[in-house]
């Protein structure tokens, strides 16, 4: 297998409360509040190959965005390393590290805050390319128009300010900005979550089209399974900062193994099934400040066994590039799913 483009190795990111001098002093004297650590991302490894789209799925607060920001080096990992083309970015000399980071770009969630309100669209799109010498200053305007054309923005938007644009148009500007510097990998952090459904579809189509025409790899972070299913080649499912299951999109959606994945799939809205009932996953997402012991999903899992409370399940390979972190054997718990479906029918009747 060739070298992966981007590799995250055992990434953890812990957020600590930012204590002042007095809190620190008080803790020294053993009268202060204890330190609280929030483990946003816990020992996650993943690989992005050239030209591939990896989807990251999970509930809000499961560390999706933190993982994305670590991947593009906006946040430093507490432990673990990010390798770009096989080299650990943290150990590269400053200039090389900068070049590597420059190849990793991000499209942000909120189109209303991700554009500088005081800069015209053209400036926003082409600024970095000019600053890094990819485009000569004299050609900046033409290059901006070309970059905007790639994302379906008309040239006359070039002198507009972001406030004169709609959410979808702004998101196109954000995409054009990321692509204008010829990135190797783009992280889309909930890139369509803030948009209307019809605009979402347009942006998704644009992304699919862009991916067909260009070679960049992408990481697509979303809480929306249908969106990820549409766009991703491979899917990683996160729960409370840990990977619970990862597989190619087809495998995962046809044959999910982890009970959490199954629960997510079962509850995703579908047009065909005309589902009228909705059974949410039991319970709430536990506080990441005090995560459950063992398998973090066990308080909500319909198949929880005694050992789930004590042993943290490791990722096990189930098939070709299909990994799952669950103690259940393949096929085990399937009958539960059928039973539940049966119950649901009774309720409907």
């Amino acid at each position: 297998m060739s070298m992966p483009l981007l590799e995250l190795c055992n990434i953890s990111r812990i957020f600590t409360r930012n204590d002042g001098v007095f809190d620190k002093l008080a803790r020294r004297l053993a009268i202060g509040r204890p330190l609280e650590n929030l483990v946003a991302v816990d020992n996650v490894s993943m690989v992005v190959n050239r030209g591939e789209t990896v989807g990251i799925v999970g509930e809000s607060g499961c560390g999706k965005s933190t993982l994305g920001r670590v991947a593009v080096q906006l946040l430093a990992p507490t432990s673990g390393k990010v390798c770009f083309e096989g080299k650990d970015i943290a150990t590269l000399p400053a200039e090389e590290a900068r070049r590597a980071r420059f190849k990793l770009q991000m499209v942000f969630q909120n189109p209303y805050t991700s554009l500088n309100p005081r800069r015209r669209v053209g400036e926003t799109v082409i600024e970095a390319a000019v600053a890094h010498g990819l485009v000569a200053k004299a050609d900046a305007r033409d290059a901006a128009i070309e970059a905007m054309g790639r994302v379906g923005l008309k040239p006359d938007f070039i002198d507009r300010f972001p406030h004169a644009l709609s959410g979808g148009q702004r998101q196109r500007v954000g995409i054009a900005r990321a692509l204008a510097v010829d990135p190797a990998c783009v992280v889309f952090d909930e890139a369509v979550a803030a948009l209307d459904v019809s605009i979402q579809a347009q942006i998704l189509e644009l992304l699919v089209e862009l991916r067909q025409n260009s070679s960049f790899a992408s990481v697509f972070i979303s809480h929306d399974l249908n969106v990820v299913r549409y766009i991703a080649d491979r899917v990683v499912i996160l729960y409370l900062g840990r990977v619970v299951e990862t597989a190619s999109t087809a495998t995962l959606f046809d044959n999910p193994h982890h009970p959490y994945s199954r629960a997510l799939m079962a509850e995703a809205p579908q047009l065909k099934a005309q589902k009228k009932t909705f059974t949410p996953i039991v319970g709430e997402l536990p506080s990441p400040l005090s995560p459950p012991s063992g398998c973090q999903f066990h308080p909500r899992c319909p198949h929880a066994m005694p050992r789930c409370k004590t042993d943290q399940p490791m990722l096990r390979q189930l098939g070709d590039r299909h990994f799952s972190a669950c103690h259940l054997e393949v096929g085990q718990g399937e009958e539960g799913r059928i039973e539940e479906a049966g119950k649901r029918k009774v309720v409907q009747a």
């Binding site: 906006l74 980071r101 942000f108 970095a128 900005r177």
Partner: protein, 308 residues
């Protein structure tokens, strides 16, 4: 002002001379009469201060031109040698008050303007640096700000003036030292909000150089509240300068400012020469008031959401 003018140009589309003039006219027509009036008065005061030597009948600080026998003349009196009329009267030393006010305005405006601009530049950069670099830089800058803010502005200015002595540049330095913390604190708090926004993350992601990130992205978006602080502080600087001069700690006696005129006038008020206090005071009030109104208007104009 330049950024509001570029906005006008862009509104007109093509940047030809004719259309930019017309768009400037259109732009002015959209403003309220009151703010336009204040702008006019403010500009008039600046213009009058600059052209004082050419539009006043005497240089009030050239003893050769001042006639001591014309002391305490009421407004409208013709001078002893019959060369000109004391429009606003004369003071206890026989100086023409109209000339003295314009010369005083010149001193006051240049000192407070220079000081406010310098304090704006220094304070803003310090505040932005504190917000962006965090950690020790932040700690150092903001504790310096806190220490300064622990003392009353006028006290700090007085201490500095008594150490360095009276004089034009010492006054500017005293005002800058007294005022930069207000800008630093505002700049830091505004910048902290901006840094949390995703466009700053995007700029970091695009590996833009730090100076570009701070000056091109952070600064323009942090500027509107700072402009409001600037106008307040400009007016405040004029007031402090007047107070210091009033207390005898301002500029030297040879080049007096509005504050010194007010100080002199206040000694004469019980003698019934009220014009010696009223007219310099009125000039100071007019200056401070119009600066505030113009600044408030500027703030709204500079907000891109209120542009067309």
């Amino acid at each position: 002002m330049s950024s509001s003018q570029t906005a006008n140009n862009s509104a007109a589309g093509k940047g030809t001379k004719m259309s930019s003039l017309r768009s400037l006219f259109d732009f002015l027509r959209r403003q309220s009469i009151f703010s336009l009036l204040c702008l006019a008065i403010f500009l008039f005061l600046i213009l009058a201060a600059i052209s004082a030597p050419w539009i006043t009948p005497q240089n009030p600080y050239d003893n050769a031109q001042v006639d001591f026998f014309d002391a305490n003349l009421a407004p409208g009196t013709v001078s002893g040698d019959g060369r000109f009329v004391y429009l606003l009267g004369s003071d206890a030393l026989g100086r023409d008050l109209y000339s003295a006010i314009l010369y005083g305005l010149r001193t006051s405006l240049s000192i407070s303007g220079t000081a406010a601009l310098l304090a704006l530049a220094i304070g803003t950069l310090a505040g932005l640096a504190a917000a962006y670099f965090k950690g020790a830089t932040d700690m150092l800058i903001m504790r310096a700000v806190d220490i300064k803010l622990g003392f009353p502005t006028i006290l700090v200015a007085m201490v500095i003036m008594s150490i360095f002595g009276a004089g034009y540049f010492n006054l500017v330095i005293a005002l800058v030292l007294a005022q930069w913390p207000y800008y630093a604190r505002t700049a830091r708090s505004v910048a902290l909000v901006q840094i949390g926004q995703e466009y700053i993350e995007a700029a970091r992601c695009l590996e833009l150089p730090v100076h570009r990130l701070i000056l091109v992205h952070l600064l323009p978006n942090s500027l509107p509240p700072l402009l409001v602080v600037f106008t307040l502080q400009l007016a405040h600087a004029a007031a402090i300068e007047a107070s210091l001069s009033f207390l005898g700690l301002g500029v030297s006696i040879e080049a007096p400012s509005l504050g010194l005129l007010i100080a002199n006038g206040s000694k004469e008020i019980l003698s019934g020469h009220s014009w010696q206090l009223i007219y310099p005071g009125l000039a100071l009030v007019l200056l401070i008031f119009t600066v505030n109104i113009v600044g408030d208007r500027l703030r709204r104009i500079l907000n891109p959401k209120e542009r067309g």
